[in-house]
Subunit: 210 residues, 2 copies
């Protein structure tokens, strides 16, 4: 097999490309793709625009590279959802891991949200392919738990959606969450509060115990 089209990279290439991707993540996630300029990214990366374009020849290339990396790590928690172990515990852990990702990687979450909001023009094939396959697979795992009476019967797909929605909300709508909670409760503790609340919601719902 021939050496494919993957360009060979020097040490500097690798380092600078990382620098640019880090800067681009910051800029893209707060301004969106069209709202961000190459100059902004270059300045955030501490280099001139033509220099940046030496490492990524087009603005879209940066975004694409960023997106490819993101998707792998972003779906890792769902991939880990496994049939071994207690179902309720397994789901609780999935929710916790997703919430930790919203806390630790809010920029990645916003980058993804931005892309989806605008109709996912650049990652549509991946949504209909890789993502759908993964979700269908995990939905079947959850269906098995329901048939075994381990968790209540409900729609597994919408269950997954609701976990995505509630956890990513703390990254994507962070400013709103902090504004509403106020300076007292909007501090670092809000993720622990959210974790406690979500666990209770997903396990027991709102019906009083009696």
């Amino acid at each position: 097999m021939v050496e494919s089209s993957a360009p060979r990279r020097t040490r500097i290439q690798l380092e600078k490309r990382e620098l640019i991707l880090e800067a681009a993540l910051e800029v893209f996630s707060t301004n969106g793709f069209r709202g961000s300029t190459i100059d902004q990214i270059a300045e955030a990366a501490g280099m001139s625009k033509p220099n940046l374009l030496y490492y990524f020849r087009r603005k879209e290339d940066i975004h694409e590279t960023l997106m490819q990396r993101l998707l792998d790590t972003w779906l890792a928690p769902l991939r880990e959802l496994d049939d071994i172990g207690d179902p309720l515990t397994e789901l609780r852990n999935y929710i916790r891991r997703k919430l930790e990702m919203a806390r630790d990687f809010p920029r990645e979450s916003r980058l993804f949200a931005n892309e989806i909001l605008q109709g996912a023009p650049r990652i549509m094939p991946m949504l209909e392919g890789e993502l759908k396959t993964l979700v269908d697979e995990k939905a079947n795992v959850i269906k098995g738990w329901m048939r075994a009476g381990k968790i209540a019967r409900t729609d597994p797909w919408h269950l997954i959606f609701s976990i995505w929605a509630t956890t990513q909300h703390y990254a994507d709508f962070d400013v709103q969450v902090r504004a509403v909670l106020g300076p007292d409760r909007g501090g670092d503790g809000r993720f622990e509060d959210a974790a406690r609340f979500l666990e209770q919601l997903f396990i027991d719902g709102l019906k009083p115990k009696n």
Copy 2:
């Protein structure tokens, strides 16, 4: 009291301004503020760019007007949440109304999401003022229900967040939802499925009944 600074408007002014706002909602909600051009909005409204600028002197003025209108209708369901009636029913109705809004006004939802995602630069005062006041007030209503043993004790603020997140998800992440559900289940029925699922989630959680 003197006639305040509100400009007087002719019939045509009122009609054309509506036309522009409708077109701008369409364009802004799919491309974001910076991603939208005055030309796009003008074309969607069926007029020339200078003509549009005769009715709104700056691009930002359109966005601001749109945002002000949005916020009133957007928070209406929460305002209706009332102390009269059965708490669980009241919450169930709130969730249903919010989900209907995600179904019937997805553009408004995306416009709002776009603004929050970018750090809410134009509506921050409203989040810390009007919105926080309203949410605090309703959180106290919910707290009353908890004290009375009508619903399980939990964090009312995060409860409200979770309702926002799960319902708006079906507007903001619509393309992802449809891609994952596929052509069979991603059709018009998805909102009924979501309504059923969310009701069960919020009332009973996932713990099996036995």
